[in-house]
Every structure is written in structure tokens, then in C-alpha cells.
Symmetry: C2
Subunit: 411 residues, 2 copies
Amino acid sequence: MSDRYFQHTFSNGLTLLAEKMPGMQSAAMTLLVPAGSATDPVDRTGASTVISDLVLRGAGNRDNRQLTDYLDGLGLQRSASVGVYHTRFGSAALAGKVMESLATYADIVRRPQMPESGFEPARDLALQALAGLDDDPRHKLSVKLREWFFPSPYGRNSMGKQEDLEKLTLELCIADFARRYQAQGTILAVAGHIDFAALMDAVQNNFGDWAGKAPDPIVEMPPPGNYHHLDQKSEQTHIGIAYPAVTETDPDYYTMKVAIEILSGGSSGRLFTEIREKRGLVYSVSAGYTGLRDRGAITGYAGTSNERAQATLDCFLTELHRLTRGVTPAELARAKTGMKASTIMSGESTSARAGAIAHDFFIRGRIRTLDEIKAAIDSVTIEKVNDYLAKHPPGPFTIVTVGPRELKMPG
Amino acid sequence: MSDRYFQHTFSNGLTLLAEKMPGMQSAAMTLLVPAGSATDPVDRTGASTVISDLVLRGAGNRDNRQLTDYLDGLGLQRSASVGVYHTRFGSAALAGKVMESLATYADIVRRPQMPESGFEPARDLALQALAGLDDDPRHKLSVKLREWFFPSPYGRNSMGKQEDLEKLTLELCIADFARRYQAQGTILAVAGHIDFAALMDAVQNNFGDWAGKAPDPIVEMPPPGNYHHLDQKSEQTHIGIAYPAVTETDPDYYTMKVAIEILSGGSSGRLFTEIREKRGLVYSVSAGYTGLRDRGAITGYAGTSNERAQATLDCFLTELHRLTRGVTPAELARAKTGMKASTIMSGESTSARAGAIAHDFFIRGRIRTLDEIKAAIDSVTIEKVNDYLAKHPPGPFTIVTVGPRELKMPG
């Protein structure tokens, strides 16, 4: 497609994406397998998380120890996580080592040993991560806000429910692995110091004969929405807010993103200026965008002392409503400059680019160049933003609080 | 000194460091001012933190709002934080914008407005951050471990004590600013797409006539050490361990770093393998190095359920002691590969390099090249590591726990 970008979908439904980044010695890989929390069986939430651990406990002809030693021996910085749609495996290292690791990642997602001895520890770690949420009220809040805002199964906590994790067995994991770890819908993205022809060969050889089939349909259940309070004895109250926004493919997407940047970007963002700097109500306040494939949300967070919590919530909602009255040309210019600078700087990170092109393909079916993103930001005008904000008043709100007392909701 | 690196100390004691990074469009700046938590007056802990906020509330001829708007308008990603020795201001953006911001950073550290109206909000935010520690037991643990391991004032919580923050006044901040924000000991480092001559000119013009004088001497007080338990009602127990290690300038520094990497690097590290993978005792376990200018520490962390806490501590200490019996050539090779890969990848981040060259100069009085660091890692042999470990058995330990019950310490 160009000297810089490469895209190919194999007949089995696996897509290879690549970006050549001049001046880099490293490369980064993002491998998305269609085993996300939304595709966990309804009574086996958390299965993706346990499986994502289990497949790393030995693969191909390497046992657990040999596999770990081998990957660390390549100097790879690795990660594995479960999102809504995919289980994501990431790695970054000197480019040659990332290339060398591809055959082993094929072992991991196609031929894991999934040993009996690995199951209990893997499930136990998932249970421990879940229990640890109680010590991390801000993280707990974000998990609950997703659950209550997005329709199930998309809003699920990827960690799963305790009762489901406890019912899980190795046999169920093996069957579930066979159903969901497959070529159709898998995305493999590599960015950095790479050669397209060599990469294409390596992926063809290691993933080309992987079987793929269409995924099972997902049944949606409406979210509870509204206001929820989680009682927690503390001096602090954590507040989460969510309301609907356009999707990432909507023509208004960047118009909305610029509005969020005006609300929450840098130190001149309205939330920071009004709630933190002028009123001194909070230590931490922010807003952002959370997207699913077919819906989006503007989400907000504030953490404050209990006695300031009600004023913080009221002030936060006031700022959201004030947006509908429009923004200034100076705010627009700052927001666009900040977003373009971030875009350009992301072009200097192999990991950021591997993740971004994989996400682009999943959402849009194609890679976007950095120039295309910059042009999209540039095309946002004051008329577009103010028109969008006037037509999209904030709400209906889903609000979650974690702290010792419920707050009064707006009437 | 070379095409890639630049170093110059002005007659007022300010040092400019720079690294040219081919292929980058961005630049990053790290500005270290000699106002760290260790130089806070003994009854005014947290002053550095309040001042670091206050100086950003208007500087030169720009008031609070104008300053924030201007810096955001350059597209800068900014940060400010207080360390042991310095207050650190960081920024990253397109290289031209970072250059443009230098005059304004001179305003911030030399001519802040420090308005009356900004003092209460700044102090309030510091108090809120301090109160927020109670909701973040892992962070609280790391703060307390430093306090109890390092001699005062080096082990201080940079957030300060509540009673000291409450006594602080704007007048005290202004006097303290005048004492500590000065050229002598300030380090300004820039890395990325830069021109040495233009940078040198800009720094000369904006910082060249800044006055500097030798800092006040610091009086050390011995740390409490030993075992401390912080009672917190929770299902989780957090464990922190610290014991002495060599300094960063010691000839054995990389030998020790390789040993820590064997203990805690990647997924093949001993702590991860033994405590997490084999025993399933913890979700999170790690060890690392924490250095002051003239002393160092190996620190460890584990977070686990209350019923596994004692076994986790015992197992952690067993692994530390087992190190003295030596490591294998395979462990050594993996550790060196991992460390070298990280070093090379840090060379692809302007922010990482600006921070690294500033730190190098503070600790060593000069910039180290990435090749020098790689060579230092390469020079570590199995004999050196095993000899070092045999001669440096772990201990004496400072141990901190946060949770509902005290643990039994080793005899």
C-alpha cells in the first residue's frame, strides 16, 4: 500500500499489518486473538483471562520453564491482557528478536500445552487479581462504571466473577480455547525496523495454515445505567460518570475528541482549571473517551475528600452542561495543537504504532497514516465543535461512587 | 564531546546537557532545580511540593491562566514532581516548541508570580494528595519503606507531613523559593531533534545570568529500620522489604543490577517463577534498585491475600538468601540480554534520554553513552556475580507491612 505501511488478510481470516519506522532499531508486535471478555460464556466470565495465562505455561515442544526462559532470552518486553473483543499479546525488543519470536507466538496461540499443573495457579492468580480490586477503589470504580454503562457482555469486568472462576475447570478452558483461539478475526501487527517480505514469509509459514471460522454471535443485555453507590469506609470518595458519545467511525468523532480535549486536555482543560485550580475541590479530575466497536462513551473521573464529594459532582456536571454553550477559538486551537503533537510523538514509539494499527484495522478495516489522523484533527472547526456540542447535550448519565456515603443526584 | 552528546556548565553553576537523536521530530526537556524533599526545612516538609505547584501559577508577565494557556498552546506534554534532591519539570513536544518554551521555563523557575490567590489551592492539593495515600496501600507502603530504610531527610515522603503543610504560609514559600531555586546545581537536559548551537544560545540567554550559590549543608538522622506494621482493614496484605546495596558509581553496580534482574526480570525471574508461578502465593511480586547519591538499596514488594502473607514473606526471604549460593550461566545470559534490549529501546524515547542524561550528570558528573552502558552490562561475568552475591548476603532488612495483621519476622 505504501513504503511505510503493509496490510494483508490471509485466506484463513488472519490479518497481518505492518509499519516501517525509519531510525528505529526495535520492533513491537501486537497480536489480537478473538477471545475477549465479551465472548466468555455467560456462566464462565473470566475464562479469557485464565486461558491467556494458561497458554503461556508451555507451548509447542517447550514446557512452562523452557518457554519463559526462551522468550526472556530474546530480551522481549512482553505483556498479555484481555480486552472486550480480544486477548492481546504484546512484545517489543530489537527487531530481529521480535521476528525470531513469531514462531513461538504461533506455538502459544495454536499449540499451547495447557498443563494440568498450570490450571490451579492460573485460576488462583485471576481470583487474587479480582480480590485485589478492593484495595484499589479507583480501579474498582472504573470496572463498575463500565459494567453499569455498557450493555452486557461488553461492559463485563474482564477479570470475571468469583463464582464463575471457581466453577472453571481445565477441560472447560481447553474446549473454550479451541473455540476462540483461531485465525478468523486474529490481527497481528508489527511496527519498527522491519522488512515486509521477510515478515510476510514468517507469518505465512507460522500462521498461514491455522484454521478459522466465523465467531459465535453475541447476545446483548441492556445495562443497568443510572446511579450506583459502592460503600467503602475511607476518607476519600471516588466519582465516575459516563454518557453516550459517537463511535470512532462517525464523521463527528474528531469533533467530539476535540471537545473532550477542551474539557480535559493539559492544564488548561476546563475540568482541571475550574474544579482543581480555581475551586481546589479535587486532587485528580479528568475526562476521556471509551469506545466499543458500535458505541462510544464520554467518561469522567474525580477523586476527592468525602466532605467535598457532593460539590465535586455538582461542579463536574455543571462543566459538562456548560460545554453545550460552546467553546472559544483559543480553546479549539490549543486542543488541536495538543492532539497533533501527541499524534506525531506516538509515531516515535514502535509499541504505540503496533497497537494503533491493530486497533485501526479492527475498527475500520484498514491502517490510518499519521498524516490522515493529523488531517482529521485539522479539519475540526469552531462551527463544527459548537454545533456538535449544542446538538449533543450530556446525558443520560450513569454515575458510580465509591466511598462512605451516597451522593445526591441531579434532579 | 561528540556529534551526539553535548555538555556545558555555565559559570553560575547551571549545567546544560543535550543528546541529538536522529530520526526524531520531537524533543524532551528535563529541568532539575536543587529543591528536593531532602532540602525542605525540617519543620516544613512538603514545601518543595507546594512551591513546585505555586511557581506554575503565573510567571514572568503571564498570570496563571495565561501561562497555562501558553504552554498548552505549544502542545507540550508536561510534568512536575519532587524527588529527593530536585524538583523536576519535564516537557515533550515537537522539537521547535520545546525550544520555544525554554524562555518560559526560565520565567517559571526564576520569576514566578507566586500569587496570594494560588497559595491556598496549592497547599490544599498537597494535603489532598497526602490524604489519598490511605486509599492506595501499595503506594503508602513504598512511602513508609523509604522513610524507615533511608536516613532522614533522604527517606522523607516528598508530600510532606500534614502538620507541616498546615503551618506553611505564602511568605515562607517565597523565602524558601529564593533560597533553593537557583543556578548552582540546576541541570537542564534536552534530547531529540535539536541543534546544539541554538540550544546553547537559548540557555545562555535565558539562564546565563541566573545567580547561584552553594546549597545549605544537610544534617542526616539515622533511619528507624527494622520491622513496621501499618494496620489497615483489608483482605490484602502488602509487604515491602529493603536492604543495603552498592551505589550507582560503585564498580560492582552492574554486577548487582544483573543479580536483581535474575531475581526479578521478565517472567523467568526467580521471584516470579518461585512465588507466583510455582507456589501461586501472590498476584504481584518484584524487586528493584533504589539509589541515593551515596547509598543504594535493593527493595522488594509483594501483594497477597492475608492468609498467604506469612508464607509469601518467608518465601521472599528464602529467595533472597538463595541468591548467595549463586546463579547459573543461563540466568546470567538472559538477564544481560534483557538489560541490553531495554537500554537500546530507551534510546528511542526522547523523554527517557533527557531524564537519563540529567540523572547521569547528577550522579557521575557526565553523560554516559548507550554504548558505555551496554559495555558495562557486557562486562559482567558469572564469576563477578557469584562472587558479589557470596560477599553481600541480604540484610539487615527493613520490612514494612500494610494489612490487618502483623507478620512473624525471621529470627
